[in-house]
């Protein structure tokens, strides 16, 4: 049996212009996996989306839009699970306040809701110098 062993570690400036780069890495991972038997195009979109949402959150809510800061992202695959860690270096945000929007026109919470829908597990924990958003998806 062929297994996928992938580990990507990337740091980018705290700027939204890099969302596209990070999103494309997610898409490329989905297209590269050997052992995935599900809908590959859907997985590509989903990984693009969760990485875009997680990084945008780190930029806007955790690093407070400071372009001098950076966002650190780790993507790895281990035992048929895909793990994403997004580290920020700011004050963080309260992930629990963003539950499923009660109405589709609600202004806030759509991004976290989408991440919860796509991933199997999400946590947001403090680190020594910021926070880490950790996500897992069974492949």
């Amino acid at each position: 049996m062929t297994t996928d062993r992938i580990a990507v570690d990337i740091k980018v400036p705290n700027q939204t212009r890099y969302l596209c780069l990070i999103g494309h890495i997610g898409e490329n991972i989905a297209h590269t996996l050997r052992s995935y038997s599900g809908d590959r195009e859907k997985l590509a979109y989903d990984l693009n989306l969760v990485l875009t949402e997680a990084m945008a959150n780190a930029i806007q809510h955790a690093n407070e839009g400071d372009p001098a800061k950076e966002v650190h992202i780790e993507i790895s695959i281990f035992k048929k699970n895909l793990f994403i860690k997004v580290f920020d270096f700011g004050q963080g945000f309260d992930i629990k306040q963003y539950v499923e929007p009660s109405h589709p026109l609600e202004d806030h919470g759509r991004g976290i809701y989408l991440m919860h829908t796509i991933m199997d597990e999400i946590t947001y924990q403090p680190t020594d110098n910021g926070h880490v958003l950790e996500m897992r998806k069974a492949l």
Partner: protein, 113 residues
């Protein structure tokens, strides 16, 4: 952002010529729509045929436009959604909020009825 704006009489057509509508460029779309509302143009068609990826910020910009149009007795209708973009509207239940047309011609014609 590459955005073409054309006044078609019954409505203004906004053609988003970007592959992605995300947190990087959706603010610009939101501002352009606000400018149109200030000019008294309350009926908009946003054509997303070139867009193959939309995130929560992109959806948020369209929701903001929809709310602004509605509060002025106008409407914001969508056209040309690619399959995966359409799935995003379904996932967030926004497909029940927006009028979604196959192409901008149909969307514009709906304003003339």
């Amino acid at each position: 952002m590459n955005l073409q704006i054309e006044d078609k009489g019954a409505a203004v057509l906004l053609l988003v010529e970007e592959e992605r509508l995300d947190a990087h460029n959706s603010g610009e779309l939101k501002n352009q729509m606000l400018k149109l509302f200030e000019e008294g143009k309350h009926n908009l068609v946003v054509d997303l045929q070139s867009v193959r990826f939309v995130d929560s910020s992109g959806l948020g910009a369209l929701v903001s436009g929809f709310k602004n149009a509605s509060s002025r007795n106008g409407n914001l209708k969508l056209a040309g959604l690619q399959l995966q973009v359409k799935s995003m509207f379904e996932l967030t239940r926004l497909h029940r909020v927006f009028e979604i047309y196959t192409d901008s011609g149909e969307a514009l014609a709906s304003f003339q009825q």
